[in-house]
């Protein structure tokens, strides 16, 4: 159902903006800070904002790699630790919290995160998670130690390995029982979902993130291209490959999701059958999944009293409900997949493969991020002349690791969600909006056309021009308006907290200081743009005098 908004957003936003950034980098032949200075001296803040966003991203993103390491290390056991609940103290049953929720959720919330009931209860640093985080940062340091040259070689591995694993999973996923249900669910468009603006918003943000727009890395990489490089063709090819990979990955995801939903649905039905068999002493085999509903009506008619007594325990099992269970946040990748994997044969193998792939993807992203931070640092002559690049990378990794320890505390996941939701989204939208407006209106679209003509040999056709000048800015502005109205309507921001007594997520309001942190995150990157303009303005006035 998500496919339609995704594809539309790709064509309306992704491709034109990707082309724009590549062309700017190729033409100006400088990294993001320098390129925007050339377009207009007042826009140096845009590059700085990109670096700030990358800095925030690198702070919290490596925690995902730490979790992937944790799951990877735990995959070498039989049975998998998230397959069964641990026993309670007198060994008569399972732990209470685990009974209320599933064993995979218990493993995630209790044994991995040891999550506290709310943001205010910070708790202590979990040493296991801290160890995994340190390891993750050491791996990143190893890859960026020698600068961009070594990073390039590492990316060969981190980019190609996930494809191999995805193909293995595709074959395994499609042969699973119930995979078809998931695929059907994925491809049927849901009209109520399409009318909900939130779906379009998430499609747009998804395109932004997966293409890496607004981070400044695209401009930096494009500046290394030859001036005559056909960036139009590259933009189209890259965005198409990116989306095909996304769709391929989502086919794998949904087939596994369908397997999990079918498995849960069938166990639910079996539980109901067992309950009814026990209560009414019916013959085994008389109740099956097919005749369940008729038998339920029959039993309700024949033994109304006993049935009424049983009624609260009889759940209405529905495949649709299982498929609709929305799992929030980054827990999705860990909970849903570990639940599906534990039901496969040879689960250790698939578990190791999956979390290894997740690690590769995560480390690949981290490399891009840290490169975005390190390049301006090593370019500035003040720092680079005094310290060799190993020391600079080491200091950056060490500082990020120390800051990242916040996310390993008991309330760490809530802070992680804050960073995940607010550090990059709004700022990126603003950066890309300023970029499009700058190129189209401040630099001038006719000048840009001429530059492209000198580079590629032909002018961009009317489609690109309309996209750059009108459609993309309008889309981004409408996204902004939506975010703001959403915030104003709900009044205060809320988050999902894990309630151990109920065994599910509950919604809570953010405390005051958390709201302040959110505001700081958003402000520090967005304010760079007007501040940069102000500083240049003041400098020019001083120079004139």
């Amino acid at each position: 159902g998500f496919l339609i908004p995704y594809l539309i957003m790709l064509i309306a936003e992704g491709m034109p903006l990707l082309y724009l950034e590549l062309a700017v980098g190729q033409r100006m032949r400088q990294g993001s800070i320098g390129a925007w200075k050339i377009i207009s001296p007042y826009l140096c803040g845009v590059g700085v904002a990109s670096v700030v966003v990358s800095f925030f991203l690198s702070m919290y993103y490596n925690v995902i790699n730490a979790w992937a390491f944790w799951y990877l290390f735990h995959s070498f056991q039989d049975p998998l630790p998230w397959a069964t609940c641990p026993l309670n103290s007198n060994r008569t049953g399972y732990e209470e919290e685990c009974e209320k929720t599933s064993s995979t959720q218990y493993f995630w919330y209790r044994q991995t995160l040891n999550i506290s009931p709310s943001l205010e209860a910070s708790g202590s640093v979990q040493w296991e998670q801290a160890l995994c985080l340190t390891l993750a940062w050491l791996v990143v340091y190893l890859c960026i130690l020698r600068g961009t040259a070594s990073t390039g070689k590492v990316v060969y591995v981190t980019a190609s390995l996930p494809y191999c694993v995805l193909i293995i999973y595709l074959i395994r996923g499609l042969t699973l029982h119930g995979a078809v249900n998931g695929l059907v669910y994925m491809f049927t468009p849901k009209l109520e979902q399409l009318s909900n603006p939130k779906t379009w918003i998430s499609a747009a943000t998804q395109i932004f993130f997966s293409l890496g727009l607004g981070f400044g890395s695209l401009i930096a990489f494009a500046s290394y291209n030859e001036p005559s490089n056909n960036c139009q063709r590259h933009a189209i090819i890259v965005s198409l490959i990116n989306s095909t990979t996304s769709i391929f990955a989502s086919i794998v995801t949904f087939s596994i999701y369908g397997f999990k939903a079918t498995f849960n649905y069938e166990s639910c039905i079996n539980k109901v059958i067992l309950l009814l068999l026990n209560a009414f002493d019916l013959e085994e085999g008389s109740l099956t999944a097919d005749n369940l509903s008729e038998m339920k009506d029959y039993l309700m008619a024949t033994y109304p009293q006993e049935y009424a007594q049983l009624a609260p325990q009889i759940k209405n099992c529905s495949l649709e409900a299982e498929l609709d269970t929305a799992v929030q946040g980054t827990g999705l990748a860990f909970i849903v997949y570990s639940e599906a994997i534990k039901n496969m044969e040879v689960p250790q193998l698939y578990s190791v493969l999956y979390f290894f792939m997740l690690l590769m993807l995560g480390i690949g992203s981290m490399l891009g991020n840290t490169a975005a931070i390190l390049t301006p640092l090593s370019d500035s002559r003040v720092i680079a002349s005094r310290f060799p690049k190993e020391v600079i990378s080491g200091v950056v990794c060490f500082m990020n690791c120390i800051i990242g320890l916040i996310f390993t505390t008991e309330a760490g996941n809530y802070w992680f969600d804050i960073f995940n939701d607010y550090a990059a989204t709004l700022s990126l939208l603003l950066i890309v909006l300023v970029e499009t407006i700058a190129v189209c209106y401040i630099y001038g679209i006719r000048r840009f056309e001429k530059d492209l003509y000198t580079m590629i040999g032909h002018k961009p056709n009317w489609y690109w021009k309309i996209m750059w000048a009108f459609v993309s800015p309008l889309l981004i502005i409408s996204l902004f308006i939506f975010y703001l109205t959403d915030y104003i309507l709900t009044g205060t921001l809320q988050y999902q907290a894990w309630d151990a007594t109920q065994g599910q997520l509950v919604t809570k309001d953010y405390p005051g200081y958390a709201l302040a942190v959110i505001g700081l995150l958003v402000a520090s990157s967005t304010m760079c743009i007007p501040l940069g303009a102000l500083v240049t303005f003041v400098r020019k006035r001083l120079k004139r005098e």
């Binding site: 320098g34 070498f76 026993l87 050491l138 190893l142 130690l145 500046s223 002493d281 390049t375 370019d379």
Partner: protein, 163 residues
Amino acid sequence: MMIFVLFVCRISNVLLCNVTDRVSFWFVVTDSSKNVTTVPGSEVEAAIRMNRNRINNAFLLSDKTLQFLKITSTLSPPVEPSTPVWLIVFGVVLCLIVAGIVFLIVSGIQKHKKKNKESTERENLEEKVEVTLENGIPCEALDIKAGHINGVFAADDDRFTSL
């Protein structure tokens, strides 16, 4: 069958009743030594708990498929090795990564030292041999260092592609 301390129990001591369509039944165990009284439920429960495995195996069933009402099965705890497995894997990976980092840093320092030694050797050579000078800078120095920035042209920083 179960062997009691008090007496030997035979099949004739187990009485079934309430047999239903479903494979389920109630049973009592009689004590033949005392006049057809039934063995108290708690003792039967304790005996079943101890011998659960044998009963299951006799029926080729498991704790999940054969249920004794009011007797909760004692669940076996999972096997836990003395050192958690994940720590072992963690230790291995950590050692590999640290070894890699140390190797890269050391080779970087060695390369740096070699470069410094070479440049001091060249300087010693230059004092003895006549070298071609260009604007007061020896030609070899231009090759060794990664290019000099000519001060006249360096004023305009924006022209240079920053990396």
